[in-house]
């Protein structure tokens, strides 16, 4: 009996270790490659990443932080209100509206970017970080509204009704009672928005036009310097590691809520 359970424990460890190696190896390899130099190991590649002609500047990092922050906040606001409405109220056209939100997923990303670029021009937001964030928020909406709708639906009706009895209206009930209840969902949506906006490459490429507004991802990809696509791999790996660190830290701190957010709503009776 005990031998079976210890065997199954071993099995679990081995499988877990194998999966960890599988998923971690590219990252570990990047870390290793980023430290390797012609003469051994050192920080030369990182030095080149930050000091070469077209390397990363502080400005690029600040831009990335600004875009990510705007995207996360914007996504949370819209997804909370949207998810609340879809999950808690019945109104004419609700299902159609939800379908339209999901339809964002059905349009090929690259083709719609140009139209969005023209549109941003009309409202004076071409080559601006705010414009870029608006576009990123829009592409976050299908997933985040879907997530938040499920989160709100999973909350028992009684919780809300008791709030009404205590004199809340629908908005203050949301703020005081429901928001704490959907916290795992909010963290999942926020983290997802951060990870996507932090590493997004194509939208900044098309929507930004001046070097001092570039995000870090663009700057890192620009490290490919020599002709015929020749890549400075070592510096590129250093850039990859530099970009991955904030994501890993955030994920490590929030993974408990992140996982809980995904299963909330899935267990709804």
């Amino acid at each position: 009996m005990s031998s079976i359970s210890s065997a199954s424990r071993w099995g679990r460890h081995v499988t877990g270790a194998a999966l960890a190696i599988l998923f971690l190896s590219p990252l570990l390899w990047s870390g290793w490659a980023s430290l390797r130099t012609d003469t051994g190991f050192g920080l030369e590649n990182y030095d080149r990443l930050f000091t070469s002609d077209n390397g990363i500047r502080l400005q690029h990092v600040l831009n990335s932080v600004a875009v990510s922050a705007l995207t996360v906040v914007g996504t949370l606001v819209v997804a909370t209100l949207g998810g609340y409405a879809f999950g808690r109220f019945t109104f004419p056209g609700r299902d159609l509206l939800f379908l339209v939100t999901l339809a964002i997923l059905m349009v090929p990303y690259a083709t719609i970017l140009i139209a969005l670029y023209v549109l941003l021009g009309w409202i004076g937001l071409q080559d601006s970080l705010i414009g870029l964030s608006l576009v990123l928020i829009m592409f976050q909406l299908p997933f985040s509204i879907f997530m938040m709708r499920n989160s709100f639906e999973a909350i028992p009706k009684e919780l809300e009704e008791s709030a009404y009895v205590d004199g809340c209206n629908s908005f203050s009930a949301l703020l005081r009672i429901l928001l704490p209840a959907v916290r795992p969902g909010l963290i999942t949506v926020g983290l997802f928005a951060f990870l996507t906006s932090w590493s997004e490459f194509f939208a900044p490429l098309i929507l930004l036009n001046s070097t001092d507004r570039f995000t870090t991802t663009l700057a890192v990809v620009n490290m490919r310097t020599a002709s015929h696509g020749s890549i400075d791999y070592a510096a590129l790996e250093a850039g990859v590691v530099f970009m991955a660190v904030p994501c890993l830290l955030l994920f490590a701190f929030m993974q408990r809520s992140y996982v809980r957010g995904f299963i909330s709503g899935a267990l709804k009776g």
Partner: protein, 428 residues
Amino acid sequence: MKRNLAGRTTSLLAAALLVAGLSACADDKAADATSVAGVDDGATLTLWTRAATESVTKAYAEAYNKTHKNQVQVTAYPGEEYPAKLASAAGAKALPDLFASDVVFSAQFASEGLWQDLTARFDASGFKGKVAPAHVAAGTWEGKTYALPHTIDMSVMLYNKDLYTRAGLDPEKGPTSLTEYAEHARKIDALGGDINGTYFGGNCGGCVEFTFWPSVWAAGGNVIDDKGRNAKVDSKEMADVFALYRKLYDDGVAAPGSKDEAGPTWLGALQNGKIGIAPGPSVWLGIIEKAGVKMGVAPITGLTGGESTFVGGDAIGISATTAKGNQAWDFIKWTMSDEAQIEIIAKNTGVPFRTDLAENKYSSADPRIVMINKLMAKGKTPYARNFNASFNDPQSPWLATVRGALFGDAGKALTDGNIAISKSLQQS
């Protein structure tokens, strides 16, 4: 990932062309106020280029900004995605005042009306006939000049002097024919160990154009006709060149990595000092020597002699939608001056695009540089409107032809490839 990006780029281009089609007759609005002399009145000019040549463009801009009221701001984009960026900006009518691009795109951009007609300004500039003829030809569409040279990157034979000495060859004498090149490569390969005779980008359409075509041109052949409408890939000249490189690979003289080299590790392979002689970009001479490898330079030759080069690099033009054409022209005109070409380009061991400046106070110190500079006038830049899709794109019929000619059924690949490339060239 790469395929994904290529797919995205293609759909982006298609969408951009759709949008651009709606606004194709928007140019000529500034035509009545055109000044052939250029205007320096303190305008801010935006200039886009690709990251590979960014440093040169920035050096131009810095020097120009110091001595002029106009201020040029340079933005560089990753080379692979740059065409998509230009296409989307053109579609949104948000092109910068000036943009440089890989010279092989010139005919395409000119035909799509993205650049202003520079004919009158160029005629009056005093530089006509003095700047890289291959680039000027590439920037001409239906008899009008739309783009002028900006930076030069040419293909030459780069050889490792130490390995030449070790193999008993004269390190001061590069090969004078392609056959001799193969002999040299074989002798060096015979040194054994991890030393290889030669190297090439066998999975990179752009690399093969850049390094093989000069041998075809030197032998008097051509790869596409002058109008860029028909391929001549199945010519004897082209087949001979492919056969020579193929044999080098089959015999193990070319490093095994040559078969899958798609570009990214090409420079690294030459930098590590284990390759005897290989055709490559002239701009790498300095980069390779910085890694501590002593290099010799020779022209790329035909099978039995003659010499030529692929004149690559970037061309620059004034975008069709800008209202600051006169100021933009002031910058372009200045880049053609002795000051810019000698003090910025030649001083940093670049190739001046002025043919009359091949010998200058900086190049005279290094006979290799004079040789490279002089080679420019003999070189060619291929001219075709649909060049990128036909030759440079990873999905191009040219790359399929190259793969077949080097590693598959050569005869069939060249015959079929010629039909496929011609078809692609005629697509508009």
